[in-house]
């Protein structure tokens, strides 16, 4: 029998230890702690702009840090950079592969990235000398689809993949700096902490993992979801993580208490969560679903306080601008909408 059996026993013991340790720190619930707080009044956001131009399903969008420009990716084979206030298309970038699943805007505003079923992350320079937007790098090494990507700077980007790993890339050399392995299922989404020291990943193994970027180490693993995690993000202060799953719920996990604090669910919501974003104070959680709607939750009280209904197909992506002024939704109906 020997070593393998002993290792399995030790794994089970450690898992039980973690569960027990978490319980000893569970002296209350978020619901109890927030019992004195009044529920947020009904949130009614209106569509202020509709960004028209894509010819097929939109799969991803990401705000630039100036809260005005944003980038979207569609399976019409284009990346479009929009001025969300004027609705003008600043750039329309044709892609080599139309099977795009994710896009990202660099914090500097100089670069955008995208990727998908081509298993690569392509980096585009928006500020090239001759004014043309060209592919600057093609980051190839993943053996599965690119599900998500996020820039740390103009020289580093993190990607998540259907090959169950996440990778930190050196954009200049086009090489992998670190590989983050540990998930037992396709990695579907990632989020970078406000201080850029950590990132979180959500996967088809139903777990979320917190990674130390420089140590290439998984620090914490969060379970509880009953299906694939499709969307993940940090609570604005960086101390908690929000996840959205095919099990139709969202969960809030606190990093320092190392456990789930609350589940956002309603028996009337039966469709998987595709995307999520937090408002600037963290009080509102906006979750996009397969049923064409976005549900708005009071994060402290776990009550639904609003719905954004305006798309004619699945809401695939959502983002709140850095200044918190607006929320952008992207849909399979080929439109993006700006709400506040």
């Amino acid at each position: 029998m020997g070593e393998m059996e002993e290792l399995r026993k030790e794994m089970e013991n450690l898992k039980d230890q973690i569960t027990a340790a978490r319980k000893t720190f569970q002296d209350t619930t978020l619901q109890e702690a927030a019992s004195g707080v009044t529920v947020v009044g009904r949130v009614q956001l209106k569509t202020r702009k509709t960004l028209r131009g894509h010819l097929a399903k939109i799969y991803a969008m990401h705000w630039g840090t100036d809260s005005t420009l944003c980038v979207s990716a569609s399976q019409d084979g284009k990346l479009i950079v929009w001025d969300s206030i004027t609705t003008n298309k600043v750039n329309a970038i044709p892609l080599k592969s139309s099977w795009v699943m994710t896009c990202a805007y660099a914090p500097s505003g100089n670069l955008v990235a995208c990727g998908g079923l081509d298993n690569m992350c392509s980096i585009y320079n928006l500020k090239g000398k001759d004014g043309n937007v060209k592919v600057m790098r093609e980051l190839a090494a993943h053996t599965g689809y690119l599900s998500c990507c996020r820039f740390l700077s103009d020289t580093e980007i993190i990607t998540s993949s259907g090959d169950c790993t996440c990778v930190l890339w050196d954009i200049e050399t086009g090489t992998e700096k670190m590989v983050f392995a540990g998930h037992q299922g396709d990695c579907m989404s990632l989020g970078v902490s406000p201080d850029f020291k950590f990132f979180i990943s959500g996967a088809c193994d139903f777990t979320a993992k917190l990674w130390d970027i420089r140590e290439a180490q998984c620090r914490q693993t969060f379970s509880g979801h009953e299906s694939d995690i499709n969307a993940i993000g940090f609570f604005p202060n960086g101390n908690a993580v929000i996840t959205g799953s095919d099990d139709a719920t969202c969960k809030l996990y606190d990093l320092r208490a190392d456990q789930e604090l609350i589940t956002y669910q309603d028996s009337s919501i039966m469709c998987g969560v595709t995307s999520l974003a937090a408002s600037k104070s963290g009080r509102l959680l906006l979750a996009g679903h397969d049923d064409f709607n976005v549900n708005i939750w009071d994060m402290l009280k776990s009550e639904r306080v609003g719905v954004l209904a305006g798309h004619d197909n699945r809401v695939s992506c959502i983002g709140v601008s850095s200044d918190g002024m607006a929320c952008c939704t992207g849909s399979w109906d080929s439109f993006l909408k700006i709400w506040n």
């Binding site: 029998m1 020997g2 070593e3 393998m4 059996e5 290792l7 399995r8 030790e10 794994m11 450690l14 898992k15 973690i18 340790a21 978490r22 720190f25 569970q26 002296d27 209350t28 619930t29 978020l30 702690a33 707080v37 947020v40 949130v43 956001l45 202020r48 005005t68 969300s84 206030i85 180490q217 998984c218 620090r219 914490q220 693993t221 609570f235 604005p236 202060n237 101390n239 908690a240 606190d254 320092r256 208490a257 190392d258 456990q259 604090l261 408002s279 600037k280 104070s281 963290g282 009080r283 509102l284 994060m299 402290l300 709140v320 918190g324 002024m325 607006a326 929320c327 700006i338 506040n340």
Partner: protein, 72 residues
Amino acid sequence: MSSISAPHSSLVLAQKAVKQLRLEASVRRIKVSQAAAELKTFCLQNAHKDPLLTGVPSSDNPFRPPKSCILL
């Protein structure tokens, strides 16, 4: 299942998994009461800076054209 037939790589994977679990078990935790209190405080203290929560008057809303009044 006998370990004689188990491939060497399974053993290495299992050893890695145990090492990872040991690391995750050793994380320093704080009480939920403290964590929840700090989340609550963050939300309440930043509420006034959250336009989606407080609403935006149309004059300050970059996504709404300002309504101009012409007095004739």
